[in-house]
Amino acid sequence: MIDYFSIALTHGLILLACWRLLMRDDLDVEGAQNRPDPRPWLQQQAQQEQQEHGPDA
């Protein structure tokens, strides 16, 4: 039971960490801004975001 708790907690955190790393461009290139993948079907949404937060957001 204790082992299961320990495994679940730490492995869950490792997975979450890897998931977050997956989204970060500065993992591979120092100082890179995080840009979401080009998703043409969300173009409108992207344009809206750009208008709200400016080009660097």
Binding site: I2, H11, I14, A17, D26, L27, V29, G31
Partner: protein
Amino acid sequence: MRDLVLLAFIAAIVAMGFKRPFLWVLLYIYVDIVTPQKVGYGIITSISLSMLCFVAAFAGYILLDSKQGSRITLRQGLIVALLGWCAITTHFLADFPEEAASKWEWVWKSLVFAAFLPLTLRTRLRLEAAALIMVLSAASIIISAGIKTVLSGGGYGTLVSLVQDNSGLYEGSTLSTVAIAIIPLTVWVARHGTIFTERKLAMVFAAALVFAALLVPVGTQTRTGLICIAALGVLVLRSVKYRFVYAGLAGLALVVALPFLPASYTERMSTITEYQADESASTRVAVWAWTIDYVKANPLGGGFDSFLGNSFSYQTRTTVEEGNTERVVYQEVTDEGRAFHSAYFEVLGEQGFIGFAIWLALHGLGLWQMQRIRKRYADSEEADGKRWYALATALQNGHMVYLVGAAFVGVGYQPFMFMLLGLQIAFYSLMKREWAGEQVQNRPWLREQPVQGAPA
């Protein structure tokens, strides 16, 4: 069930690695520390998981990853030199070729990975990610051991964390040393991490993990662990603001904790000063004396597990109470093939003076490099400067704790500690690049000049 969960976990990281191959390096770090193939029961035990991840980590870097920012440094050269020397002693100089070959099987992986790891840790985030995965992987063993200690009190050689095994991190003394050595890095990851930015939650987790880590030496009842805690306590004095308050609080915590410690633990710890009566301690001293004689006769070392050739008789001294008088009884004990019980003597006896010199240089340089970074950022007011100062201190403190613990445990080639060296190498290399960048920026008369090819 455990197998399926672990396999699904590994499969998920493998899949994510196709987008970011660096994750396979993290996966190997995890597999090497936790050894999930031992944690499971069924299919997972029959897969050579460690080798697969090792190959994936290398292939991912060589075939798919960018090499920009990768540097080969002096300390990596030292690791490769140690590796080469170990290969020579194993294949040509070993007293016990079979045993030497079986130890070589895991040592070479530990050394190759330590030399390789810094190449992949070429960005700040990667450095942090590797530190985080090391902490979380070790945490899976430490948390389990900590909770079991609270519930059962543990016992020397009886506390089982995740796996009933006496190798790698699952060996009591090794786990104690590593658990204490990782404390500074745990605190750094929680306080300065950018992956988990939920600062309060992270600090609560870190506090609980540090508590569990402090319980590991209690649970495994290893004297080495207690010495490591004391060493860390002294080292932390360097970086606390109010030293007297800290020392007072530490003393108070000890007094409060004493009644809660299991009696078997306090009894065992009190034997630290009675080493003459203790067979385990007496043999250590005898083995160390034997090792010195051995390398004098065999300056090139005797290959892995050369201790198997030792045999010696020594006397233990115990006092026996008889009525109102105490009588000192000397007993002669003969021992054969006693392990080194010290990383220093282990490396000296196995790799001779040459290997030992390389090993010492590797560690000495690490302490010095971290000190250089600490000095540079000691008075820094910038967030980055503080962050690097804290990381250098954490890696140095962890390293020192390991070097203290290593005096009593044979952890000369411990993969976990070699990974810590890998982190240090990558960190120093990263800092040197940043400093070089700063120099370029500080020369306004060169500003017109394009700085193409300069490290990013």
